[in-house]
Every structure is written in structure tokens, then in C-alpha cells.
């Protein structure tokens, strides 16, 4: 671990500056993972990994290069430096490349700094018992409890020197439920936490997902087709919002595919939707101090009452397009709470769908998408009537976020996102 120091990284930076680069940057990362795995309700694997990652970047005459080295002996570093020289020489001039200046806070540590093997084993054991007692019809296919620790030391020639460390736990489960020869669909859920103080079954939406799985045992195929209301559960909304947000990020903005290129301070979705990023929000398990490029991460409002207030662009994409840079790398989502209680959202729906999870691909460039509704229920007469299978939901993702009818007061917190239930209209649901 002696290499995890400013001294080590500064020496590499000196080697780069001695080569005459206009600007240079060295980023040394160290990632630790401890993973405990349960397969088919039985412990199977304990895994730990330790990985170093050295990123060398340089700019000369507007030409930029970047090389990653995962072995830190002198000969490998020298090979990396030689490759970096080749890359810089071969790159076209691009004045949009630059490195991050020194942020306000240079050092940060957050979360647990070491894994607790005994506590992890105890938590998982208790989870197996808790699920067996509360949901005996539920069969756990896989459970992964992980401890993550990441440290990053960054120095560059524009005065940046930072050292940040973040530790946290994550937990993911895959399960189904069985009774009298009938089986629910596979369910997934996951969450993050800063410590193991809370029972795993109470993390995020895990208990809700297990309860739903038991209710899904009597699922039957959906027949016919209808167009109408869909209540999107937090797990499905996380996926769909992720697709929508891609249109505010580098690839879709730079390639010209995004429809939001000229929409800053203009409506981009329903006025019922507000969405922000809180990289160090106290209600979250994870915390981001610096963006991936090294700028200080700050809270930002992305959408306010349907109006686009910020893009989520890197500094590079910002300089290329003239649009403002994102204030963070996008960790910790906060959807604004709505005014409607969840039961009331169902109450007004004569026939609709409660979308628990969506299995499918990414939307087409024009926003059209299709997906199979998983862990989902038919809504009839204002109530959840029955679990359904073989239902394909389709629509246009831009139209969908323009057709929001309600946002729930209740929000689910999975440790990295605070997400409500969303009511939308105009979706097409096709059964067998």
C-alpha cells in the first residue's frame, strides 16, 4: 500500500512534465471488493479483490492521450508513458481537452474503510432466516452482499491534488416464489448502505419485492390489448429514467441524437416531474466528492417542474458543445415527491397496469421502446386485481415523460436513489 501516496503519484507526474507535455495528469485508483455469495439459499463463495489502476493523461498542442496501467512496477509505468507519448503524437488537435483545477476540498474519507467479514456473514445468515420465516414460499436463487472501497489520488499540472476514499456495502437478491406447483416470475432487488446496522431485508425495496413475489404466484397471461394508464414502480422507473437521462449526456449530445440539444430552460417533460442530483446527500449510502474528471461534485437540479435546468455533460463535452458542464457524475438521484398518495393513484384507474419491472432493450433513437412487463399487476376498478404475464408494454419514452398524470408522495430509497411511483397515460399494453 506504500504506493498509495501523493509522493508516488507526484513522481510519475514529474516524469510526464519532464517530457515537455503542456499539461499532464496522473490518477491512481485502488479498489477493494469483498463479496459474500449465497446460491440457492446456501453460502457458496467468499471473494476479495484488490486492484490498482494508474491513468496517465497528457495534452500537447491541443493533442490529447490517455493510457491505463494496472501494474505499478517501474518498467510497466515506463511502457505506459511511452504509449502515452505515441497517443498524444497521433491525436488530432482538439482544443476542448483540459484538466480539472484544484477543488475546494482536497481530502475526503466517507463510509466504512474495512470490510467486516463476521458481520457480513451474520447479516446474510439472518437474512436467510428472516426470508424463510416471513416468506416461506419464496426461494432465494442468489444473494450477493458486497463491501466496496475506492480510493483515488489525483495530481495534475494545473495545481490539482486530491485524495478521496469511499466505502459502502451493496446487497442484491434474485428470487421467485412457489406454491402448489405454481411459480411467480423471477424478481430482483438491490440496495446500498453505509453500514450493516439495518437488517438486510429492510434495505430499500427488498421486503416490498419479496412480498410482491409471493402475490405473483397466481399469475396468468394477459389477453388482448388496451391503451391507457400505467403506474410505474420505482424499480422500473429507475431503468426508464436512466434511458431518458442518456439524452442529457455526452454520447447522445455529441452525436446529435438527443432531442434536448437546444432545450436548456425549456420544457422537456411533464411539469409534474422534478429531478435533481445530490452527490453527497445525507439520506444516501454513497457519496461522490469529485466528478470522474476531478471537478468538485455539487448538487444540481436537472429538471424543475418539467423545465430542463442542467445537462449531465463532462467538461470535454461541455467545451465541445458550449453547453454547461454537469455539476457531478450523476450519483444519487432525487425525484421530487408528488402530491398524490399511492392508493389514490390506483383509485382513478378503471383499467391499467402496475409495472413492477421492465425487461427489454434501450429505446430507439426516436424514443420508441418495447419491454416485457415483469413482476406486474393488472389494475381494474381502482385496485390491483391480479398478477399478469406475457404483457408487452410499448410507447415512446419522450411522450411517456410528457404524459405523467401523478407522482406519488411515497418514495423508495435504495441508497443511491429516492424514487416515487409515477402514473403515466397513453401507453400500449399488449397481451397474448
Amino acid at each position: 500500500m506504500e504506493h498509495l501516496s501523493f509522493d508516488f503519484v507526484r513522481k510519475i507526474l514529474s516524469r510526464l512534465t519532464a517530457l515537455g507535455f503542456d499539461q499532464a495528469e496522473v490518477l491512481l485508483g485502488n479498489e477493494h471488493l469483498t463479496e459474500m455469495e449465497v446460491d440457492v439459499s446456501s453460502f457458496s463463495l467468499l471473494r476479495n479483490t484488490e486492484a490498482d489502476n494508474l491513468v496517465l493523461r497528457a495534452i500537447q498542442g491541443g493533442r490529447y492521450g490517455s493510457v491505463v496501467v494496472s501494474q505499478l512496477d517501474d518498467s510497466r509505468i515506463q511502457m505506459g508513458i511511452s504509449k502515452l507519448q505515441d497517443q498524444v503524437m497521433s491525436a488530432p488537435v482538439d482544443e476542448a481537452r483540459a484538466f480539472a483545477p484544484q477543488p475546494l476540498v482536497a481530502m475526503n474519507e466517507m463510509g466504512p474503510l474495512e470490510p467486516q467479514h463476521y458481520a457480513m456473514h451474520n447479516s446474510l445468515s439472518q437474512f436467510l432466516v428472516a426470508v424463510g420465516e416471513a416468506y416461506p414460499e419464496c426461494v432465494l436463487k442468489q444473494a450477493l452482499l458486497r463491501y466496496h472501497r475506492g480510493r483515488r489520488i489525483r495530481v495534475n499540472t494545473v495545481g490539482h491534488e486530491t485524495d478521496t476514499t469511499e466505502g459502502y456495502y451493496s446487497f442484491g437478491v434474485r428470487f421467485l416464489s412457489k406454491r402448489n406447483g405454481k411459480t411467480s416470475q423471477i424478481g430482483f432487488n438491490g440496495s446500498c448502505a453505509a453500514d450493516l446496522g439495518t437488517d438486510l431485508i429492510e434495505w430499500g425495496g427488498i421486503r416490498r419485492a419479496l412480498e410482491s413475489s409471493v402475490r405473483e404466484i397466481n399469475l396468468t397471461p394477459l389477453h388482448g390489448r388496451f391503451d391507457g394508464h400505467v403506474i410505474i414502480a420505482p424499480e422500473a422507473l429507475y431503468i426508464l429514467m436512466g434511458h431518458w437521462l442518456q439524452n442529457l449526456k455526452d454520447e447522445k449530445i455529441l452525436s446529435g441524437v438527443s432531442p434536448f440539444r437546444d432545450k436548456l430552460d425549456k420544457p422537456v417533460c411533464s411539469p409534474l416531474l422534478s429531478f435533481s442530483i445530490e452527490p453527497r446527500g445525507t439520506s444516501f449510502a454513497r457519496h461522490e466528492f469529485l466528478t470522474e474528471e476531478g471537478f468538485g461534485s455539487e448538487p444540481s437540479t436537472i429538471i424543475k417542474d418539467g423545465i430542463l435546468k442542467s445537462y449531465m455533460l463532462s467538461d470535454y463535452a461541455s467545451r465541445k458543445t458550449g453547453l454547461p458542464r454537469g455539476e457531478s457524475s450523476g450519483l444519487n438521484w432525487v425525484f421530487g415527491a408528488g402530491k398524490t398518495r399511492l392508493p389514490e393513484m390506483f383509485g382513478g384507474i378503471d383499467k391499467g397496469l402496475m409495472l413492477g419491472r421492465i425487461s427489454g432493450g434501450v429505446p430507439a433513437a426516436n424514443g420508441d421502446f418495447s419491454g416485457i412487463a415483469k413482476n406486474s399487476f393488472l389494475i381494474e376498478g381502482g385496485y390491483l386485481s391480479r398478477p399478469i404475464s406475457e404483457a408487452v408494454i410499448s410507447g415512446n419514452i419522450f411522450d411517456m415523460f410528457n404524459s405523467i398524470t401523478a407522482v406519488s408522495q411515497d418514495r423508495s430509497n435504495d441508497g443511491i436513489a429516492l424514487i416515487p411511483w409515477l402514473g403515466v397515460d397513453g401507453m400500449s399494453i399488449k397481451g397474448r
Binding site: 453460502f43 457458496s44 479483490t49 484488490e50 490498482d52 501494474q71 505515441d86 497517443q87 482538439d94 420508441d368
Partner: protein, 467 residues
């Protein structure tokens, strides 16, 4: 590189109930990626992800440990930690009937690395810039364009406590061009990819002019898609082109026979030696050689030191075998045939497909199309997902109507859905021309994994979703 032979004395295999199986793996994943987006060099990086890991099996539990700075000391530390991790779990609970198979140990060395001199990134960037200029001048009505070159060469060295010693190097390289054009209903994209087993210089060391006809074809498709129609939703007879059929078989069927997913309740768990598909269907996971040539992702020995051989999954419609690692092979009393693979040095081997191939039949694709009165011809796959029930959804990037036995209008993006068993039983014609997919597909199952996919065209019945 580490001399793994010098570490043999570090293995402590024990015997009887105290037998400990262990493996040490050194791995280097060398990757290059260059992306030119609307003329800007968005990505230009070279990465070498290398390290050493060890895994141990004791009393029914696995322990694993990995370090990114490969050295003899790191390998020894990883081995000791892996054994300690397995024993940590074993010390807290007992497992009955837990064990692994011990097939014949293997000594094997093979490199598919390019014999041509590697090319400087500058040459590749010049190639992309020349082609980008060609696109800009000839097709100014495009909304966006992206040209990407990438390669991944994986070198592995493995030593196991039961005597296997392996050293392999397998590269692959791809060139992808994507175009986006405006249409009346918003932007429309189309992309195409070339490449396969080998390095960039094996496939793409050519003049820009030699790629222009390919570029023209991509522009033609995106233009036709911009004027395309939505398919009408419903259940149809369709023809699936080889690329799409291969990916659909991989997602909907291949995952369902991975023994770890079988144990987790896959729809095929109780169908061994039963008819699960039309008798026209024979589906094999090729280890390394097909029709006398290397498969796209050759595996001679897997990451548990097990010799890889072809696994016949479905023979004339009958499910014949699952895909196993050492542990599930013992559980299902099947022969391990080399499916345990890890993506990076820090990943544990999982049961993975290698080069799944639906073997060719006798029908020409023209006959399939001519046999359909009202249906679709689906060519290019997008993303696909299936779960253990076998229910799948596959996006279709390129397709055509079939009307009166003839190809009709081009389709916009669409999707097909269904269930694995219904799909396999609906196959009524299997094409006579087999193709390996060249899209550079990597499958995600806890870890990414490069895989090969192959198939001829198929005629079958699926649900079509047109939005």
C-alpha cells in the same frame, strides 16, 4: 508473466474429506478503443488490465482472492487468502453432497495472437478521419455519425492443484459504423460491425477506399429506415437472419441450459432427454473449431483446467446436456466439457457459453421467404433479454415486411417476444448457410464475456411488437 510452475509447491491439496482444490491464474486483458464521434476523437485509449488470482474449494465452499500487481508473492498471498476464505465459510456451516469433478489434468499452450506488426493508433485515427470526411462530403443530410475501432486480447496462464497447466492468448477486433438520420417521426439510427478472431491489423489494414462501399450500404439502410414503417403487432411467421437467430438462441435457450441457472430454476431444468424443439434443431456449444476453422472465441481448456470439447445441447430437438463447471458436472452426473470462464483476472470462473451454433439445415433462405404470405424478415438484432422462464424480448434494428412471399417495405425499429420452448418448437425451416456473427457481442452474467454466436437463417413463429 509469472512462472506458475514455481508455485506448485504452494498448493496444499490435502486428501479425503479435507481435500482442497485450488487454481492460480495470471491474466492480462489488453484493450484498445478509438471512437470518432461527429469528427471529434471522443475516445482514444489503450488499457492493460492484468493481475493474478487464486480460487480454492474446500468442504463445499469457494474462496477467491485477486491482486492487480502480478508477482510470485502476490500469487502466493492470493492462494493463501482464497483458501482462508473458503475455510471461513466452511467453518460456519456444513454442506452435504458438495464436491467437484476431477477430470484428467491438461497441459496446453496456444496463441491466436496476430503475426502481423501492431499498428500505431495514429494510423487508425487517420483511417477513421478519412472515412468520416467521406461521409460528411457524400452524405451531408446525416444528423450524426460515429466510427469505432476496438480490440481485446486476453492472455491467460493457469495452474491447478490437480496438475493442469495452461497458457492461451485469444484476440478479437471490430470496426463499427453508426449513422443517425432525421425522419418524420424523429431520428433513426443504423449501425453495422465487422471483425472477429484476430487483431485490428488482421482485418482493417486497408485503404479508406476499400471501406467506402460498406459505408454506402450503411447510409442506404439508415435512409431506408427513415422512410420505414412500423410492423403490425401480432403473431407471425417470420424469417430470422443468421445474426438475429444466433443471438436469440443464445439468450432464450443457451442461458437456460447453463447448469447454475438450471439449479436456479430454469424452464429447462426437468427436460433432459425430452423433446424441447422441432427435430430440425441441433444446437451445439462449439469449443474451438467448427468446419475445420477456429471458432470466433476458441476455448481449448477452461479456467478450471478442464479440457474443452463440443457440448451437444439439443440434438434433433432433444435436450441432451447442460453446460457445466466442475461443481455442477458432479451434481448432474455429466461430463465437464470446459465452460468455466472468467472475464478478468479478478473474476471467478462462471458457467458461460463459448461459441453456440445452431447447425445448418437444407432450406434456402429464398424458399423460407417465398413460403410466407404475410410476415416479416428480421435481419439485425438489437439488445435481447430473457429470464429463466425462457420469456424473451429482442430488439430488431433492421427488418422487412414479407407480403405474398416477397420482401416488402423496410421496418423501423421493432421488437419480437416469446418463450424459448414455444419458439424452438415453432421452427419449421432451418437454412443451409451457416454464419458466425461478427458484431463483437459480449454477454453479461455478473461479468462480461466475449462469446461466439452462429446460425443459419430460420423460419419460425414469434410475437411482433411494433410499438
Amino acid at each position: 508473466m509469472i512462472d506458475l510452475r514455481s508455485l506448485k509447491s504452494e498448493f496444499a491439496p490435502g486428501s479425503g474429506a479435507n481435500r482442497v482444490y485450488s487454481e492460480i491464474r495470471y491474466q492480462d486483458n489488453r484493450e484498445t478503443r478509438i471512437d470518432l464521434t461527429n469528427g471529434s476523437l471522443e475516445t482514444n485509449f489503450q488499457e492493460s488490465v492484468r493481475g493474478v488470482s487464486a480460487r480454492s474449494f474446500s468442504c463445499g465452499y469457494w474462496g477467491f482472492s485477486a491482486y492487480s500487481n502480478p508477482s510470485k508473492d502476490a500469487a502466493i498471498a492470493a492462494l493463501r487468502e482464497a483458501t482462508r476464505n473458503a475455510k471461513f465459510l466452511a467453518g460456519r456451516s456444513e454442506k452435504s453432497n458438495a464436491g467437484i469433478a476431477y477430470p484428467t489434468a491438461m497441459q496446453f499452450k496456444k496463441s491466436y495472437a496476430s503475426t502481423k506488426t501492431p499498428i500505431s493508433p495514429a494510423i487508425w485515427i487517420e483511417l477513421l478521419k478519412a472515412l468520416d470526411n467521406y461521409i460528411v462530403k457524400k452524405y451531408p443530410d446525416l444528423r450524426g455519425r460515429r466510427l469505432s475501432l476496438w480490440s481485446l486480447e486476453i492472455e491467460k496462464q493457469l495452474a491447478t492443484s490437480d496438475g493442469s497447466e495452461i497458457h492461451t492468448t485469444v484476440p478479437r477486433a471490430f470496426f463499427q459504423v453508426s449513422m443517425t438520420k432525421d425522419s418524420k417521426t424523429g431520428p433513426v439510427s443504423f449501425l453495422d460491425t465487422r471483425g472477429g478472431l484476430g487483431d485490428l491489423q488482421d482485418f482493417f489494414l486497408d485503404t479508406p477506399q476499400s471501406f467506402e462501399s460498406w459505408i454506402d450500404e450503411i447510409y442506404d439502410m439508415v435512409s431506408r429506415k427513415a422512410d420505414g414503417v412500423k410492423p403490425t403487432s401480432g403473431v407471425y411467421d417470420v424469417v430470422l437472419a443468421p445474426d438475429l437467430a444466433a443471438l436469440l438462441m443464445h439468450e432464450a435457450v443457451g442461458h437456460g441450459v447453463e447448469a447454475d441457472l438450471v439449479q436456479a430454476g430454469s424452464v429447462l431444468w426437468d427436460r433432459l432427454n425430452q423433446m424441447v424443439a422441432n427435430p430440425l434443431v441441433t444446437y451445439v456449444d462449439i469449443a474451438h473449431t467448427y468446419d475445420g476453422a477456429p471458432a470466433p472465441r476458441p476455448v481449448h481448456v477452461d479456467d478450471e483446467g478442464v479440457e474443452a470439447s463440443d457440448t451437444v445441447i439439443i440434438q434433433k430437438g432433444v435436450l441432451k446436456s447442460f453446460l457445466n463447471n466442475r461443481e455442477t458436472a458432479l451434481h448432474f452426473e455429466q461430463k465437464p466439457t470446459g465452460h468455466a470462464r472468467a472475464f478478468q483476472y479478478c473474476d471467478e470462473p462462471l458457467i458461460r457459453m463459448r461459441n453456440t451454433a445452431l447447425l445448418p439445415g437444407t432450406t434456402r433462405i429464398e424458399q423460407m421467404i417465398a413460403s410466407i404470405e404475410d410476415g416479416y424478415y428480421f435481419m439485425k438484432p438489437g439488445r435481447a433479454q430473457a429470464d429463466t422462464t425462457g420469456e424473451f424480448l429482442m430488439q430488431v434494428g433492421t427488418g422487412f415486411e414479407i407480403k405474398g412471399g416477397k420482401i416488402g417495405r423496410v421496418l423501423r425499429d421493432s421488437a419480437i417476444t416469446g418463450f424459448a420452448l414455444e419458439f424452438m418448437n415453432s421452427i419449421s425451416m432451418v437454412g443451409d448457410e451457416f454464419h458466425w456473427d461478427t458484431s463483437g457481442y459480449s454477454c453479461l452474467k455478473k461479468q462480461l464475456m466475449p462469446v461466439g454466436l452462429g446460425s443459419p437463417a430460420l423460419k419460425c413463429k414469434v410475437r411482433v411488437s411494433g410499438g
